[in-house]
């Protein structure tokens, strides 16, 4: 071990973010233990025996055939979305959380992407689906799916986050012992491909007084939201593909609106109608559920951006650090609805000292950004924190700073710093810093 390279970066064992890269030491990162547990077998060294005894079963038999659509290993069955308890499927309003602590990199597998379905998932026949654009346009037009597939497309990597993500930490009086998935799993990252909405609006033409667009889905509840036209003209798209395949039903098949950096609810799934107007409609979700209640009781509407946020996903809630005084790689995700992540700082001593984490590429605007930092845990009780800053200089607030702005029961757009308590027995638990 070349100790010389293990430069300390901040208190309580945080190491320089480049330590792992430079030293190349064989760290006893307990997380990877087990992976190397080679199958133990009695080596039969008798001259006439076959070598079979040395090898595990799967090296002595032909493997099985593959299938048309591949599935994860049967040993990864525990990596599943989690249905939020407070919104049971029985009430027909379901919220499924992504297992973000199991994810590496910045892309969430499509089948694990979080999903909030206010009126269930429709199975729409693409041959019968039409996108209509009307209202304050020169030419009201309709587009069938086959036609839309012929348009030039762009592909972009973006995060998507529900306005209500991490609501428990926003409103619960005491911290609940929840995993990263349960707390903050209403957030995922994908590559989305589709048609910039700008192209279609160019084709319909716009009247001079056009300011808003009411986007509507073709689900049972005809989900609808009012969105400022300038944003839709800027970087919104009619998305047809997610992670290289056509968008799945729970993400809006055959098409969804994608509005980068803005709250999930605006990214209308099963998109079938865009009404261009000079006023917002104050739809159901902009009247109550998705608004913020300020500390003075006023109701803030149209707070569209998902603000700069980060959390450590490893180690995180409900996990266990198995080895005392071990080396660990702290890893997490940061994102901002305003642009690129500029920096993520990590503290291993409850916020007394901070060190910059390594930002793994690519660092894209309005996209998940992976950060890592090596840490030597000394086995004592402590609190791990991460704090993100984006390219506009917006800094993730503490939970108290965030709550000062809002009424005690306001739960949307929470982006407070996530604190993980590390107990001496290695148990990691959600805490309030």
């Amino acid at each position: 071990m070349r100790k010389a390279f293990l430069k300390t970066a901040a208190g309580n064992g945080l190491l320089d973010r480049r330590s792992f890269l430079q030293s190349g030491i064989a760290l006893s990162t307990s997380f990877s233990l087990g992976a190397f547990a080679a199958p133990v077998s009695d080596l039969n060294t008798a001259p006439n025996s076959s070598i079979a005894a040395s090898f595990p079963e799967w090296m002595k038999t032909p493997g099985r055939a593959d299938t048309e659509y591949g599935q994860p290993s049967i040993y990864e069955k525990q990596v599943q979305r989690h249905l939020q308890k407070s919104a049971p499927e029985a009430s027909l309003f379901s919220i499924w959380h992504t297992p973000i602590e199991n994810q590496r990199g910045i892309i969430t597998p499509s089948g694990l992407h979080f999903t909030v379905n206010h009126n269930g998932i429709p199975d729409i026949d693409p041959q019968q689906h039409v996108l209509m654009i009307h209202g304050l346009v020169d030419k009201p037009l309709k587009f069938d799916v086959e036609s839309l597939m012929r348009y030039p497309m762009v592909s972009v990597i973006h995060f998507l986050e529900c306005a209500g993500n991490t609501a428990t930490n926003a409103v619960s009086l005491s911290p609940l012992d929840q995993s990263a998935q349960e707390l903050s799993g209403q957030m995922s990252g994908s590559e989305w491909a589709g048609i910039p909405l700008k192209y279609l609006l160019k084709e319909t033409g716009l009247k001079a007084n056009a300011k808003w667009v009411i986007a509507e889905g073709a689900d049972g509840g005809s989900h609808s939201r009012s969105i400022p036209l300038d944003k839709l003209q800027d970087d919104a798209m009619v998305a047809l593909y997610q992670n290289g395949e056509r968008i799945r039903p729970s993400q809006g098949y055959p098409m969804r609106l994608f509005v980068p950096g803005w709250e999930g609810n605006l990214n209308v799934k099963w998109l079938h109608r865009l009404e261009v107007t000079d006023q917002p409609a104050y739809t159901k979700d902009e009247s109550g559920l998705y608004s913020d209640i300020l500390d003075d009781g006023r109701i803030q509407r149209f707070s569209f951006h998902m603000d700069v946020k980060s959390l450590i996903t490893r180690p995180s809630g409900k996990q266990l650090l198995p080895e005392k005084k071990g080396f660990y790689e702290i890893s997490g995700l940061a994102w901002s609805g305003y642009g690129k992540i500029k920096q993520v700082e990590v503290s291993a001593d409850g916020g007394k000292t901070w060190a910059p984490a390594h930002l793994e590429g690519p660092i894209l605007p309005k996209s998940l950004t992976r950060f890592t930092i090596p840490w030597r845990w000394n086995g004592s009780e402590t609190v791990l924190l991460s704090r993100a800053t984006d390219e506009l200089g917006r800094v993730q607030p503490t939970r108290d700073q965030w709550r000062d702005q809002y009424a005690s029961y306001s739960f949307n757009h929470y982006n407070g710093i996530q604190a993980w308590h590390i107990a001496r027995d290695g148990i990691v638990e959600n805490c309030y810093g």
Binding site: S86, K139, D144, V154, E216, T277, T283
Partner: protein
């Protein structure tokens, strides 16, 4: 005979864009030129898009949408009354409809849930409620209500007609949607039980949530453009 997949083609404008590009791409076969052109053009479209020079990417595959088609689907009701249909309904009628079709999910008085809270004030469940913490944990969405937060009565009509009852959306007649809107307003002390609602009178309602409203949009529009 093999079933062949019908390839989708680009529209005429896009093709001409590709042909234009051929001038700068030196290849031997038309096929390869088109492929390469398509590829480069795909790459460039983002750049051109960012430059605002997307004119030549114009496509024209939208089909005219008739007035009749628009009217069929135009169900969004605006606060100024745009798109409100004819018809009327009384709060008393709404009460009967509510008991039969809504109470099982929203509670007898619109407060109990389990589905979204329709009446009463917003805020925590009563501080005297011994099960308060438990209730908040189980039903965080019941912290807010239509009566306290929604700024316009038109939204109640809009949402009931498009989405409720949850198991049979769009099954209510316009008269029934007016009656249920009236009843929800009555539960929130915004109407008398004897009152009737139609497309004129619904605009006279001033919801408590309106005076409390503030828009975040003004603060954020200048941030839409990236630095």
């Amino acid at each position: 005979m093999v079933d062949r997949i019908r390839l989708t083609t680009l529209s005429t404008e896009s093709i001409s864009a590709v042909v234009l590009m051929r001038k700068s791409v030196c290849t031997t076969s038309l096929f390869r030129t088109l492929l390469l052109g398509l590829f480069l053009w795909g790459m460039q479209s983002t750049l051109l898009f960012a430059d605002g020079a997307a004119e030549w990417l114009m496509t024209d595959l939208g089909q005219p949408l008739s007035k009749a088609e628009i009217e069929r689907y135009e169900i969004t009701i605006f606060p100024d009354g745009t798109n409100l249909p004819d018809g009327q309904g009384a709060a008393a009628q709404g009460k009967v409809l509510y008991q039969n079709q809504c109470a099982m999910c929203h509670g007898k008085s619109g407060i109990e849930g389990p589905a979204a809270r329709l009446a009463g004030s917003d805020g925590w469940f009563s501080f005297e409620d011994p099960l308060r913490v438990l209730r908040i944990k189980e039903y965080p969405i019941l912290l807010i209500s239509v009566g306290s937060m929604w700024p316009y009565a038109t939204t109640i009509f809009d949402y009931i007609r498009r989405a409720m009852p949850h198991h049979a959306p769009k099954s209510l007649h316009n008269d029934e949607a007016y009656a249920l809107t009236a009843y929800i307003l009555y539960m929130n002390d915004q109407l008398e039980e004897s009152s009737t609602l139609d497309k004129q009178s619904i605009l006279e309602i001033t919801m408590p949530g309106k005076a409390r409203s503030v828009s975040a949009k003004e603060q954020i529009t200048n941030l839409v453009e990236q630095p």
